[in-house]
Amino acid sequence: MTLPLMRTCREVATILVAREDRVLSLADRLALRIHMAICDACPRFENQMLTMRNGLRQWRNYTGPDESIRTTASEEKKF
């Protein structure tokens, strides 16, 4: 018996990765919600994806130590 909105963990993992790059269909969103409510493993995978999202966001906004220009310019000449 296969219910229309039942997904395996493998299928849910695919949806969770795809969510980073495209808008999910309504069916995928519903299936995701149902699966997440009854699964122990997939919420962990979702957390990994969210951690990556968060880490990438921090990385692209990171400019390195915020020293004054004068200090750093003189330091860098030393090599």
Binding site: T8, C9, R44, D66
Partner: protein, 188 residues
């Protein structure tokens, strides 16, 4: 002694690191950084700290990189040379035949946690470098240049399906690499 020119020149390597990461081609990267520095030098201004100067320069660099990616379109998406077309990206994770995880995914802690550490960013950059060139470029167009999937498809004349497959693979590769080199460290 600490002129605008010197401040710009001192950041050349910083810019080059990102240009190489995004373009995966040293000659293209050198060109983009040179263009960036020339553009910056043509409109001198003062910044309170180095962080602001870096942000401004990276902003210019990003535009130059998008120009370069557009210019080298076919080579950038690399679909002709893609080596792992037959591979299922989910192979990086083990599943049982019934579709369950063979092993529950590891607990990476709170996803909102402040990862802001030089060390984490180094691991992240190293993992990104290890992506195949075409995947790395597309992935960073999304995550570093912050282009939408639609914009990437348009710039590179890619179909959405092609783009999604490559991004999907890149994300799973990155996940595996971070797990191995960051989230599992200490438990090994």
């Amino acid at each position: 002694m600490n002129s605008f020119e010197e401040q710009i020149v001192a950041l050349r390597d910083y810019l080059l690191k990102f240009a190489r990461l995004q373009l995966r081609n040293d000659a293209w990267a050198e060109d983009a950084v040179s263009d960036t520095m020339l553009a910056a030098l043509s409109k001198p201004q003062s910044f309170g700290n180095r962080s602001q100067l870096k942000t401004w320069l990276v902003g210019i660099l990003k535009h130059k990189l998008i120009d370069a990616l557009r210019h080298h379109g076919r080579e950038v998406s690399g679909l002709e040379t893609s080596s792992d077309d037959g591979e299922d990206p989910l192979d990086y994770i083990a599943f049982k035949t019934d579709g369950h995880f063979s092993e529950a995914p590891a607990d990476w802690g709170n996803p909102e946690e402040q990862l802001r550490s030089q060390q984490f960013f180094q691991v992240l950059e190293a993992c990104t470098t290890q992506l195949p060139a075409n995947q790395g470029r597309l992935f960073l167009m999304r995550e570093w240049l912050e282009l939408s999937s639609e914009e990437i498809c348009k710039e590179l004349a890619l179909t959405p399906t092609n783009l999604y497959v490559q991004l999907h693979r890149a994300r799973l590769r990155l996940r595996a690499c971070l797990e191995l080199n960051w989230f599992m460290k200490g438990s090994a």
